[in-house]
Symmetry: C2
Subunit: 334 residues, 2 copies
């Protein structure tokens, strides 16, 4: 079995992989001089050929190289997002696709909490005032102990976020598509069809849904206006879930108190885009996940190694992706 690794694998990660899969031919497209935080592209000329007879690939290859990957049996992404690989016809027939669902819950949920607290304590506005040396009181703030937090999406990220806000005293409500099951820190659980009736009572709406046709434009103007006056919106799933111009309008009217967006539409957001200057929006450039916490990287490596072992042994994968929905096979958006 030949494995091509298109993500940085440091020395401990290589040792782990090689120990778990003895006898495999392994090609690493990045040398160990790079740190796990480097985001460089691999050398296509040098490693493109290696892909053509790889049985398994770890990482997210440029889509145009995939037609050459004739032997591909498993594409193990380093991301939770699965586009474009999950789109019909992209992967060779019979090839399995796995993502790294579960690796990002900790890092992203902590980022969400930090963003929400920044907005609710107005720290973004105090940061702005610092530029002018302005000692100015920005008035009242809010506390999680008085908030109902609604998570739309109850996968690893959404449910971990609710765990954190519950610890700090919030009331927690989860919405998932197909199931009412919930961890014990979630006070109430609903199906997607109830979303509109829940919005008027949520002080925070947190979106962690994948990007697909079903979630595109999920929060358009009508739904944004259905949210409680003074509420906060968080989005860490895909930028396409929120209508940006509508969000700006609703925020500028003071209807919502703020929004924290780690994902935008488009990405990267061009410098002249009005969203940058929209009142009470806090934008981070899709950084809540990646490997910004070392633990995320370690989890990704663990998932990848485990899936490679299972693939070789013909066992079910840990994090298989359903090409029809772009998400875990057992769920569309959970």
């Amino acid at each position: 079995m030949k494995i091509v690794v298109l993500m940085h694998f440091d020395a401990p990660s290589r040792e782990k992989l090689e120990k778990a899969l003895p006898g495999c031919e392994i090609v690493y497209a990045f040398d160990t001089s790079l740190t796990y935080l480097d985001r460089e592209d691999f050398d296509r000329d040098k490693y493109g050929a290696a892909l053509s007879d790889a049985d398994a690939v770890v990482g997210n290859p440029p889509a145009d190289l995939i037609p050459d990957m004739k032997k591909l049996g498993l594409l193990q992404l380093f991301s939770a997002g699965t586009e474009p690989y999950s789109l019909p016809g992209v992967l060779p027939e019979g090839a399995k696709l796995a993502n790294t669902s579960g690796a990002f819950g900790k890092a992203i949920s902590e980022h969400m909490l930090a963003s929400l607290l920044t907005l609710s304590k107005k720290l973004h506005l105090y940061r702005d005032d610092m530029r002018e040396g302005l000692w100015r009181d920005r008035g009242s703030v809010s506390s999680l102990t008085d908030m109902t937090v609604l998570s739309v999406g109850m996968g690893d990220i959404g449910s971990q976020f609710l765990r954190l806000v519950k610890l700090l005293g919030a009331r927690t409500v989860g919405v998932r598509k197909h199931s009412l099951s919930r961890p014990d820190w979630v006070d109430e659980s609903y199906l997607a069809e109830d979303l509109d009736s829940l919005l008027p009572r949520a002080d925070v709406v947190a979106l962690s849904v994948p990007g697909n046709a079903e979630t595109r434009g999920m929060f358009g103007e009508e739904r944004l206006r259905r949210m409680k006056k003074g509420a906060f919106l968080l989005n860490v799933g895909r930028g396409s879930a929120v209508d940006s111009p509508a969000l700006c309008r609703v925020l500028s009217e003071g209807r919502l108190a703020g929004a924290a967006l780690d994902v935008t539409d488009p990405e990267p957001l061009p410098p002249e885009h009005p969203l940058w200057r929209c009142e009470n929006v806090l934008i981070t450039p899709h950084v809540s996940g990646f490997y910004h916490l070392r633990e995320t990287y370690d989890r990704i490596v663990s998932i990848a190694v485990e899936n490679l072992v299972r693939f070789r042994e013909g066992k079910p994968l840990l994090t298989p992706v359903d090409p029809a929905t772009g998400y875990r096979e057992t769920q569309t958006w959970s």
Copy 2:
């Protein structure tokens, strides 16, 4: 008994006060048209005379009016800080002084947590980048689950802050002056004499000490350099506890990762002060307490009413201040 109220008392607060102290003469220096968030000064011409024969005063009067307050038996401050009232000779002999220790723990500890998460997730830097429409990755972040948090001062504020970070997975260490007692969410407790030996292993040092001769310059250059490389400093007590120029030097060398200051020296910080532009400092203009959470205001009113009742009945006060230290009578800094 004549009571002069020099802070905004809204209708429910007045009702509470009047019900608890029937038969008292009560003068309110602010009318109910103001909201509890207004920070206006009271009308000295109109209410200065009323103070001269007040038995009890609620609020923080200008110090120059105190010599005229001949009958003063109780000064109930609306603040936790007690300067200048606690300085020798300021209050008439025999007058009791009470602060509102305990009212601010929730608001200030939440502000501290928000500031720490902002710094550790680099949200202040992403906020800066927004001005230029800059989609730029700021690199690795840190998690509370990997941090040891040291609180210097274990009164209501310091201990509540440790409670919050403990919930989010931090290891918690408290330093207090005279006692090793600790709430069960504090992993380790030490006396002040051990502070220097604790600094090299704390990822966060949080100061909530009162302003007095003993705490002035507590964190000078030597102590700041004793802190762990890459640590965060938080200060919500009094600005005088930290040597600002030394802090700027230590931060600019990259020795510390950041500092969140809700108090500065001087206050207000003048627009040209270098601290405003010091790298990785997050400044808020002494707003973490005040009444920015409605709950803080309600607690202040409750403490004031309870102390007035106890004063009239000749019972020990709930929050008496020792004039020698400027803090609760039972502690210097706890």
